[in-house]
C-alpha cells in the first residue's frame, strides 16, 4: 500500500534515513512554526505527512523479512525509528523554545504579556498542525509506547505542551506572573487595564496542567501553583496594606463600606477574567485579610452601632462577619446582652412604683423592646435563626427577671394576665375588634417568654371567672380567640378548665330559660332571677367565708330553683356562692326623686337594705343577727352604703358594733341607676395573695404527679435522669428548681410510692 503513493514526490527523503528524513521535515515544521499565517500548501502538508509515514513504515517492511536482518537488525526496528523521529522533534522544539526564552528577555510587564500570549498562540496553533502531520507516529509508535507504559512519551500535541512547560514556562512564568500581578494591582488602584491579556494567560496556564497518568485529561495543578498561589498572596498583601492604612485613617463604618465594595469587586474579577477555580480561595483570602484580621475592631464597633441604632451599618457588619467562621458568635452574645439590658432598662423606667404599675404600661414596655429588636433581627440580621434565638434568650431573661419581678417572681405573668383582663373586660373605652385581636396576638409574644405559665393560668382563670360571673366580658369572640391562642401555645390541658367555664355559662343560660318556663307553667310569682351553675373544681371559686341568711324574697326563689335543678340532675349538690351574687332594688322612699332610684347591690347589701322595709332603724347587732353575716363581710358592705350616703349612722357614731343605722331619705345622685356593688381594694389584694399561695401548693402536686407518671412508665431510673426528665415535662408550665424536685422525690420515697435502689436508682412501687 504505501510505496506506490510515495513515488510521485521527487523531493521525498530517503525513507529509512533519519537525518535525511528529519532535514526534510524540519524545513516544513519551521515554516509552520514561524510563518503559519502564510498558510501551508497542500504539497508541503502531504509531503510531511508522507515522509513521516514512510519513515515509520520503512523498517516495518524490512522487519517483515526477518531473515534479512538488514539495518539495526532488531525486530523492534520500527519502534526505534519512531523513537528517532520523536527525539528529533523534541530536540527541535526545545531549541525553538530556547530561542523564544531569549527573545522574551527583551520584554517586560505588559509587553512581556503580549509577547507571551502571541507566542503561546502561535505555538499552540502550530502544535495542532504538527500533531496532525505526525498522526502516523501518534497512531503507531507513540500509542505502542504508551500502551507499554513508557513514561514521558506523549502524543505530539501534548509533547508540544510539555516542552513549552519545561523549557519556556519554567523560565518565564514567574516574570509573566509578575506582569499579571502588576496589571491587576493597577486595576485595583482604579486604572483601566487590558484584562483580556490576563484571561489568556490564565487559559495558557490551565492548558499546561497535564495529567501525567492520562494525557487526555488536564489538571489544574500547574495553574494552581503558578497562578493561583502567587495571585492569592499578592491579593492578601495588597489588601492587608490597604485595609491597615484605611482603618487608620477612617471610621469603622467607612471601612465596612470599603470592604464590602472590595469584596464585590473581587467577585466580579473572577467572573470577568479569572478561572472559576479561584473563586473560593480568593474569597477566603479576601475574607481573611479584609474581615477576619479586623474583626476585633468591627466587633467593638457593634456596641456603638447598637447603641445608636444604626440598622444599615449593622446589616453591613452582619454581612461581613457572616463570611468568616465564628464571626457572628460574638455579635450574638453582644446582641443578647444588649437586648437584655435594654429590656431591663425599659422595665426599670416604668417600675418606679411596682405596686401601682399599670399592667398595660408594663406589657407595652416589654413589647416595645421585643418589637424593636425583632425588627432589627429581621432587617439587619437576615432573620437568622441563631440571632432569633439570642433575641429569645434575652427576652426570656428580662421578662422573667427584672426590676418588677424583684418584688415577687410571679409578677410578670400576673401583670400579663391582668392586662388581658383589662382588654377583655367590658369598658367605656371600647377597643376595636380588629385592634383587640391584634393586641391579644402581641400579648402572646410576651406569654411565650413567660416561664411561670402556671401563674398566668391561675390569674387568668380567676379573672375569667370574674368576667363570666359578672357577665362583663367585652366579647365572646375575643374570649374564645384568646383561649384558642393559649391552647395552641400550651396544649389542651392548659385551657381545659377555662373551656369548661365557658360551657358552664352556656348550660346555665339554657337552664335559666327552662326554669323560667317552668315557673310560668306553675304560675308562681317570682323574682326576675338568673342563676349560674358552676362546676366545682373547674372554677377557681370557693364557698363564701361567712354564714348568710338571705332575705325571704330571695331565698324562696332560690329554693324553687334548687328544686327545679335537683329534679333535673339528681344527686348533685348546690352550694350558693353568695359573695358573687348581685341584684337590683328599686327605691320608693326617697324624697325629691323624679324617678325611683335603682341600686345595684351585692346580695349582702340587699339583705341589709331590705331590713329597712320592716323597720326604719336597725342597730349593727340587729343587722348582724338578721343577715348572719360575720364582721369581715358585714363591715365592708355597710361601709359602702354609708359612703354612698344610702344609710346614715344615727348620732354621727362610727360604723361598727353599737351603731344604729337609718335610711337617708334625702339621697341624691346624678344617675338613677347607682352601682353600690363595688369591690374593695383590699379584697382584690387579698385575692392576689391567695392566688400566689395556691401556686406553690399546686406546683408541688404537679411535680409529684409528673414524677410518679415518669416512674410508672420507666419503673426504674437514675435519680439524675428522673430529675431532668421531670424538668422537661414541667418546663412548659414553670421552671422547677432542682431542689424542689428532690424534695418531691423524698416525699414520694417517704410515702412509699418510690423506693431507693442502690445509691442512685429510684424504683417505682405500684
Amino acid at each position: 500500500m504505501p510505496p506506490v503513493a510515495t513515488l510521485g514526490m521527487p523531493s521525498q527523503p530517503v525513507r529509512d534515513d533519519i537525518d535525511n528524513t528529519w532535514e526534510y521535515l524540519q524545513r516544513g515544521i519551521t515554516k509552520i512554526m514561524l510563518n503559519l499565517q502564510e498558510g501551508v500548501d497542500l504539497n508541503t502538508y502531504m509531503g510531511i505527512y508522507t515522509a513521516v509515514h514512510n519513515f515509520c513504515t520503512s523498517q516495518k517492511a524490512v522487519g517483515f523479512s526477518h531473515v534479512a536482518n538488514i539495518n539495526t537488525g532488531s525486530h523492534r526496528g520500527a519502534h526505534l525509528l519512531g523513537e528517532d523521529l520523536y527525539k528529533k522533534l523534541t530536540e527541535y522544539l526545545t531549541e525553538h523554545l530556547k530561542r523564544l526564552v531569549e527573545q522574551s528577555k527583551a520584554h517586560t510587564d505588559e509587553a512581556l504579556l503580549a509577547f507571551y500570549i502571541r507566542e503561546w498562540h502561535r505555538y499552540t496553533v502550530s502544535a495542532k498542525y504538527i500533531h496532525h502531520l505526525f498522526r502516523y507516529l501518534n497512531r503507531h509508535w507513540v500509542k505502542r509506547e504508551m500502551d507499554e507504559g513508557k513514561k514521558n512519551i506523549y502524543d505530539v500535541y501534548t509533547l508540544h505542551l510539555v516542552r513549552w512547560r519545561d523549557v519556556l514556562f519554567a523560565q518565564v512564568s514567574e516574570k509573566v506572573m509578575h506582569a499579571v500581578l502588576k496589571l491587576v494591582e493597577k486595576q485595583r488602584n482604579g486604572e483601566t487595564i487590558e484584562y483580556n491579556q490576563i484571561k489568556q494567560v490564565v487559559e495558557s496556564f490551565v492548558s499546561l496542567g497535564l495529567d501525567e497518568g492520562d494525557s487526555s485529561k488536564t489538571t489544574l495543578d500547574v495553574y494552581r501553583y503558578h497562578f493561583e498561589r502567587p495571585f492569592l498572596e499578592a491579593t492578601k498583601l495588597f489588601y492587608q496594606n490597604e485595609s491597615k492604612q484605611f482603618v487608620a485613617e477612617n471610621s469603622v463604618v467607612e471601612y465596612m463600606k470599603k470592604a464590602e465594595a472590595r469584596l464585590d469587586e473581587e467577585e466580579e474579577r473572577v467572573k470577568v477574567y479569572l478561572h472559576p477555580d479561584i473563586a473560593i480561595p480568593l474569597k477566603k483570602a479576601c475574607n481573611q485579610v479584609l474581615i477576619a484580621e479586623h474583626q476585633t475592631i468591627l466587633r467593638d464597633e457593634f456596641q456603638v452601632l447598637l447603641d445608636n441604632d444604626r440598622e444599615e451599618d449593622m446589616a453591613r457588619m452582619y454581612n461581613l462577619l457572616s463570611r468568616i467562621a465564628d464571626g457572628l458568635d460574638p455579635l450574638r452574645s453582644r446582641f443578647e446582652a444588649h437586648v437584655r439590658k435594654a429590656g431591663l432598662a425599659a422595665v426599670a423606667k416604668v417600675a418606679t412604683d411596682a405596686d401601682k404599675l399599670e399592667p398595660k404600661v408594663y406589657v407595652d414596655a416589654l413589647l416595645e423592646i421585643h418589637t424593636h429588636y425583632q425588627g432589627l433581627v429581621k432587617r439587619a440580621f437576615n432573620d437568622e435563626p441563631e440571632f432569633t434565638r439570642s433575641l429569645d434568650n434575652a427576652c426570656r431573661e428580662f421578662v422573667n427577671r427584672n426590676e418588677v419581678c424583684k418584688s415577687g417572681s410571679n409578677k410578670s405573668p400576673e401583670l400579663l394576665a391582668k392586662y388581658t383582663d383589662v382588654l377583655l373586660r367590658k369598658s367605656s373605652t371600647g377597643v376595636e375588634e380588629a385592634e383587640l385581636e391584634n393586641t391579644l396576638a402581641q400579648l402572646m409574644t410576651v406569654f411565650k417568654y413567660i416561664e411561670d405559665k402556671d401563674v398566668f393560668q391561675k390569674f387568668y382563670s380567676r379573672m375569667l371567672a370574674r368576667r363570666l360571673v359578672h357577665s362583663n366580658s367585652s366579647s365572646d369572640d375575643a374570649e374564645t380567640s384568646m383561649i384558642s391562642k393559649l391552647k395552641e401555645a400550651c396544649g389542651f390541658e392548659y385551657t381545659n378548665k377555662l373551656q369548661r367555664m365557658f360551657q358552664d355559662m352556656q348550660i346555665s343560660k339554657d337552664l335559666n330559660t327552662g326554669f323560667r318556663e317552668h315557673i310560668n307553667t306553675v304560675g308562681t310569682k317570682s323574682l326576675d332571677s338568673s342563676y349560674s351553675v358552676l362546676g366545682t373544681g373547674f372554677w377557681p371559686l370557693t364557698a363564701p367565708g361567712t354564714t348568710f341568711n338571705p332575705p325571704e324574697e330571695i331565698s324562696s326563689d332560690c329554693e324553687r330553683f334548687s328544686l327545679y335543678y335537683k329534679a333535673k340532675h339528681e344527686g348533685r349538690k348546690l352550694t350558693w356562692l353568695w359573695q358573687l351574687c348581685k341584684g337590683e332594688i328599686k327605691t320608693n322612699y326617697i324624697k325629691n326623686a323624679k324617678m325611683p332610684y335603682i341600686f345595684q347591690v351585692s346580695a349582702y347589701q340587699m339583705a341589709i337594705l331590705l331590713l329597712f322595709n320592716d323597720k326604719g332603724k336597725n342597730t349593727y347587732e340587729e343587722i348582724a343577727s338578721a343577715t348572719q353575716l360575720n364582721t369581715e363581710s358585714l363591715d365592708p358592705s355597710l361601709s359602702i352604703l354609708l359612703k354612698a350616703k344610702v344609710l346614715n349612722v344615727e348620732g354621727g357614731e362610727k360604723n361598727g358594733p353599737g351603731a344604729t343605722y337609718s335610711l337617708n331619705h334625702d339621697f341624691k345622685n346624678k344617675k338613677f341607676r347607682v352601682n353600690l356593688n363595688v369591690g374593695m381594694k383590699s379584697e382584690t389584694k387579698q385575692e392576689e395573695v391567695e392566688t400566689n399561695k395556691t401556686i406553690e401548693e399546686d406546683r408541688k402536686l404537679l411535680l409529684q404527679s409528673a414524677i410518679v407518671r415518669i416512674m410508672k412508665a420507666r419503673k426504674r431510673m437514675k435519680h439524675q435522669q428522673l430529675v431532668s426528665e421531670t424538668i422537661n415535662q414541667i418546663r412548659t408550665r414553670f421552671v422547677p428548681k432542682v431542689s424542689d424536685i428532690k424534695k418531691c422525690i423524698e416525699i414520694l420515697l417517704d410515702k412509699e410510692y418510690l423506693e431507693r435502689i442502690d445509691e442512685d436508682d429510684i424504683g417505682y412501687l405500684a
Partner: protein, 250 residues
C-alpha cells in the same frame, strides 16, 4: 434465696439449705418453739395471752443469756437475728424463723456462739453491717410513724457509727459529732427511712474521701445531706481546701 437470707455468707447458706427441709425442719421448729416458750413470762402472757411475743423485760433477760451488750451495736445484731421489728418485743415467728435461717443447732450454746460469730463478722462485712444498720431503723420507729424520732436516731447513730466496729471519723474530721451537731442545730423533724439509709451510704463515702469531693449538687443525696455538705463547706469542714483545688482544676 438462701444466700440472701444468710447475707451472702456461703457456709451459712449451705447450712441453711440442708436444714430447711424434711423432718429436720420439723424438729428444729419444735425445738425453737420450746426455747421461745422458755422465755415467755407471766407478765408477757398478760400482754399476749397466746404467748406469741415477749416484752422488754424478758427481752433484756434473753439478751443477758446471749451475752449481749444492750447499750451498743451488739443489741442490733441480736435483734436482726430474731427479726425483731421493735426493741421492746420479740415475736415467736421472728424468733423461730430467724434462728432457723441462721442454720445453727437449736440450743443455747450454739446460739451464743453464732451471735459471737456475727458480732465478729460485723466490722469485716460491710453488707452485713448495712443489714444490721437497717434493722436499727425498723426496731427504732414506733408503730404508726414512718420516721424515727430524732433523739432515737441520734442515740442509734452513736451506738452504730461511733462504735469500735464502725468509727465515722477521718483524719481531720469527727463526722459523727459534726453530723449530730448539724442535726441538733438545723433539723427539726424525725429521720425517715431514706435519710437513715442514706446516712450510712454517705458515711461510707466520707470515709473514702473526707474532702467530700464525691458530692455533687445534682447527686441523688437527700436534701438534708445536701444541706449538711453546704453547711460543712460554710464552716470550713472537710471540703473547704479541696474545693479551691477543684476550682483551679476547672
Amino acid at each position: 434465696r438462701y444466700l440472701k437470707n444468710a447475707n451472702f455468707d456461703l457456709d451459712t447458706a449451705v447450712n441453711l439449705y440442708f436444714n430447711s427441709s424434711g423432718p429436720v425442719d420439723e424438729q428444729t421448729n419444735e425445738k425453737l418453739g420450746q426455747m421461745f416458750d422458755g422465755l415467755v413470762t407471766d407478765e408477757d402472757r398478760q400482754a399476749d395471752p397466746q404467748g406469741n411475743s415477749i416484752g422488754a423485760q424478758s427481752m433484756e433477760d434473753y439478751m443477758k443469756l446471749l451475752g449481749i451488750d444492750m447499750t451498743g451495736y451488739e443489741f442490733f445484731v441480736a435483734l436482726d437475728i430474731v427479726q425483731a421489728n421493735s426493741f421492746a418485743q420479740i415475736t415467736r415467728s421472728g424468733f423461730v424463723e430467724g434462728w432457723k435461717e441462721s442454720g445453727v443447732q437449736p440450743d443455747m450454746s450454739a446460739h451464743k456462739r453464732h451471735v459471737r460469730g456475727c458480732i465478729d463478722r460485723l466490722p469485716k462485712d460491710p453488707a452485713y453491717f448495712k443489714a444490721v444498720y437497717r434493722r436499727a431503723f425498723l426496731v427504732g420507729k414506733e408503730a404508726p410513724q414512718k420516721a424515727l424520732e430524732k433523739e432515737t436516731a441520734l442515740v442509734f447513730w452513736d451506738m452504730l457509727l461511733g462504735s469500735k466496729v464502725y468509727r465515722w471519723q477521718t483524719k481531720n474530721v469527727n463526722w459523727l459529732e459534726t453530723w449530730k451537731s448539724y442535726l441538733e442545730e438545723k433539723w427539726g423533724r424525725g429521720v425517715n427511712k431514706d435519710m437513715w439509709n442514706q446516712t450510712l451510704e454517705f458515711a461510707n463515702r466520707t470515709l473514702e474521701d473526707e474532702t467530700l469531693g464525691f458530692w455533687s449538687e445534682d447527686g441523688a443525696w437527700p436534701g438534708v445531706i445536701d444541706d449538711f455538705v453546704l453547711w460543712c463547706r460554710e464552716h470550713g469542714i472537710g471540703g473547704s481546701k479541696s474545693t479551691d483545688g477543684m476550682e483551679v482544676d476547672y
